[in-house]
């Protein structure tokens, strides 16, 4: 890696101030950023660690609203949400390996918005709210394509608020090498309607499959999806699967998620 300064503030305000420097960058669990630095693919002037800010480590369950601090790790979510939001806990417990889950954070994952990452599907599928150092952003407005989000320079994800659904499930079909999602589908049923969010598949990043949502609003059962499919045109095609294969898997994984949600 290249040389950089390092700061470890203890409040959000200090972190925001530290990030005001040109080319300063937030450091969550480092599971994406550190490998990038090692390969010399990024050259931040300063890293601002978010791991010692108590506010970002908070986790609360408030009558149907689960709020997770931006620096909460995947392992902590897997443990803490097991009762309150089992589908989310299950998703977190299948990210990477134990080392990744004990370092990687929800804020880092959502800020990075890898097109094959799991949390974006949960956030979009739950209609979560991304709370930042300056504002609140709905998940529908937050994701802007591959590795693109609504975050501005120096803006920190301080928390994510998940409305807890009646039923939900996440089905992840593994990319054989990375074990990220080749296709992952998060289905959540709320009183207001069903949400279906798909990760891994699209060239535009995580997306809502509205057609499936409408069908499931009518009948929350796998066969309600019969005959529905996403267009292969916008899907990712690579050595792990063609566009057609990914489009097919979206259908299969959505059905399985509905079946598993019960």
């Amino acid at each position: 890696m290249y040389e950089f300064e390092f700061e470890k503030p203890s409040t959000v305000a200090e972190a925001v101030a530290a990030l005001a420097d040109e080319d300063a960058q937030a450091l969550g669990g480092g599971q994406t950023l550190i490998p990038t630095l090692k390969q010399r693919l990024a050259m931040p002037s300063k890293l601002v660690s978010l791991s010692s800010i108590p506010q970002l480590k908070e986790l609360s369950d408030n009558g149907g609203m689960l709020t997770i601090g931006g620096a909460v790790t995947h392992a902590e979510v897997a443990a803490a949400a097991a009762d309150s939001y089992p589908a989310l806990a299950d998703l977190a417990s299948h990210i990477g390996d134990p080392a990744v889950r004990n370092r990687g954070t929800i804020g880092g994952s959502l800020a990075n918005n890898d097109p094959a990452a799991c949390y974006p599907a949960a956030a979009l599928g739950s209609g979560a709210t991304i709370v930042t150092s300056t504002r609140e952003i709905t998940a529908d407005d937050y994701f802007r394509g591959l590795f693109e989000t609504a975050l501005n320079e120096g803006e920190i994800i301080t928390a994510v608020r998940f409305p807890v659904p009646e039923k939900a499930n996440y089905q992840k079909f593994l990319q054989p090498a990375s074990r990220f999602a080749l296709v992952g589908v998060f289905v959540a049923k709320y009183a207001a309607g069903v949400r279906v969010a798909v990760t891994g598949a699209s060239e535009e990043g995580v997306f809502r499959w509205h057609e499936a949502e409408a069908a499931l609003d009518t009948s929350f059962a796998p066969d309600a999806l019969d005959g529905l499919s996403v267009d292969a045109g916008g899907m990712i095609g690579d050595m792990h699967g063609t566009k057609e294969y990914r489009a097919h898997l979206v259908g299969v994984m959505t059905k399985r998620a509905v079946a598993a949600a019960g």
């Binding site: 890696m1 390969q39 010399r40 079909f173 054989p176 090498a177 990375s178 080749l182 050595m239 792990h240 699967g241 063609t242 294969y245 097919h248 898997l249 299969v252």
Partner: protein
Amino acid sequence: MPKDNGIGASPKRREDVRFLTGAGNYTDDINVNGQAHVHFLRADVAHAAINSIDTSAAETMPGVVKIFTGADFAEVGGIPCGWGVTDRHGNPQQEPRHPIIAHDTIRHVGEIVAAVVADTLEQARDAAEAIELSLSDKPAVVSMGAALAEDATKVHEDLTSNLCYDWVFGNPDDDAVQAAFDSAAHVTTLELVNNRLVANPMEPRVAIGDYSRATDEHTLYTTSQNPHVIRLLMCAFVLGLPEHKVRVIAPDVGGGFGSKIFHYAEEAFCTFAAKACGRAVKWTSTRAEAFISDAHGRDHVTKIELALDADNNFTALRTNTMANMGAYLSTFSTSVPSYLHGTLMAGNYKTPIVQVNVKTVFTNTVPVDAYRGAGRPEATFQLERVIDKAARELGADPIALRRQNFITEFPYETPVALTYDTGDYVATMDKLEQVADVAGFAARRAESEKNGKLRGFGINCYIEACGIAPSNIVGMLGARAGLYDAATVRVNATGSISVMVGAHSHGQGHETSFPQVVADMIGIDESMVDIVHGDTGRVPFGMGTYGSRSIAVCGSAMVRATEKIINKAKKIAAHLMEASDADIELKDGQFTVAGTDKSVAWGDVCLTAYVPHNYPLEELEPGLEETAFYDPANFTYPAGAYACEVEVDPDTGKVSIERFSAADDFGNIINPMIVDGQVHGGLGQGIGQALLENAAYDEDGQLLSASFMDYAMPRADDVPFYQVDHSCQTPCTHNPLGVKGCGEAGAIGSPPAVVNAVIDALQSGGKDVTHIDMPLSPARVWAAMNG
């Protein structure tokens, strides 16, 4: 009762204590006083002319010691190829110069273009970024078919084409072979790819060059499977150094799988640079570098045809293979698709006519060389796949078809130059049917189908030529080295023993199994015996570890040396007991005079050898140390039968391996637990090849799967619990232990079993699929089902 000592016992691996508690001493753990670090600037394009390299700015950067380019190596040799294959017309293979650092042309992504030596690694990397390269890109030659086209761009301008050699083996008479096909009742044809692999041992390569001005001696610490081979190649062919001035040390090595046999540019570089810089020079490969600089494995494209008569007897076999060499010839590269592959094409079957045609091809990709099994998996895969396809076409039972064609009489001379000394393929198949519970398959299939899954059963037989190799035979075939091995047994005055062996242990457990043999022969406890390996300064000239050769070749040398020790010790014992040495017997560490109760203990004899106060000095030298070199009379022929059972999810194409059974004949076995482990590891790698691993290049010569994000290694949950049996034992007839070797069997025998099982599953679901190329990823299986 299982034994608890000596041959046949399964003591836990003593080396694991240090490996599992972080006390191993790997090459990267070694740091030489004052060492500098090298960072290699590697090509990021596959093919280009180098117009100029400007290092002037980089040289002024902090910490830089020296920067090397191809010009610095113009006076030294290139990396040699250890095997010269003669083509079908009697001409030698085309052999391009293989430079340490690219000179005027870049020929693959990952090739070294410049080397920066600096005080720290980060300084070296910083300076490498300041090197200015002027390149003129050339078209990348990637696919073998395109490389052989008439007007193809040449990987090496000075060669006549991209063809390394065009080789024929077995029956060279095209007309006779064609006649056999013309008169066949049935011909089965299959075209297939044996996918390119990256070995990916857990420990990446490391090299440290050190030079002493005081003694003019070089020391190279390196991650090698064969330190003497490296010393010989580097001294004699590359750097022109006298061998007695060079010591090569390969300490603990974290896996090799073939990829650490070869002499690599980085080893010669560090040795050369240490003297040039007046400082030790260290290089530790990153994983990213390993993907583009370790020799790759496999990469064959084959058409195979099998002719059968009306009674389903195999009458002829013909293969046409293109094998990728990559951009340069790595150490054993040319032997793998020729002699290590063609000689195995008869398999376990008495097919009378076999013709093997191989074209090896230069491309702008990483060099390809031996990887666990080396040529033999490529032979087994095509043969066992075409037999399975024939069985399906004929409606024959795949097991019965194989049994009917088995070789049953030994010794057996194959049409492809080998003489199988012994074996019993019927016995291993019988054992397999039992271990794999073939009878219960139908019920298991019904159960899977109830759960919406397709279940398949795949069978496979293999034979390999191991215990590599009889030097005179391989010499005739083009090997530029002998393939004997050596051991020195040094008995200490108090009776403990150090055995210096030419074999190298990098996961095989030699430190446990070799002492079992010596302890058994003398009748002492294993704890009295240690082996020493991996250091040309300490061990006799041996050829190292690959080709499942260690116990069969080096172990035989060790037995011979121990026999010499025992003979001499008997003479000393006879002197002490005033008896004739012909009457001395050795049992349980006691020398006795036959038929009497006179005895003297091992320890007393050893002490006498070193404190020769009462000793026949006129007839016998004092001391107790013997060396033996052993050159095998033949290859050894491990063989066996494997069965794989898979479930395929028809919705996604995902294959899961539900059962995997192996019945192997390894001859006699020293440590059954270690043999189990070797088979398990081989099976894991074979399953990795069959389902997951794929080194794929794009048309520009960029490796698409250049990290673990895209190169899928098998993980624990990708493999099942194995049923492994090695109770069928036909001991090797020509080495003293009757051993055959077990290191590669699993990797050779498993890929066809997996693929055969998947095809069986798909056909059981009514899918008309006869072949899918490896790896059988979910996407490929799904595409085949919906094709």
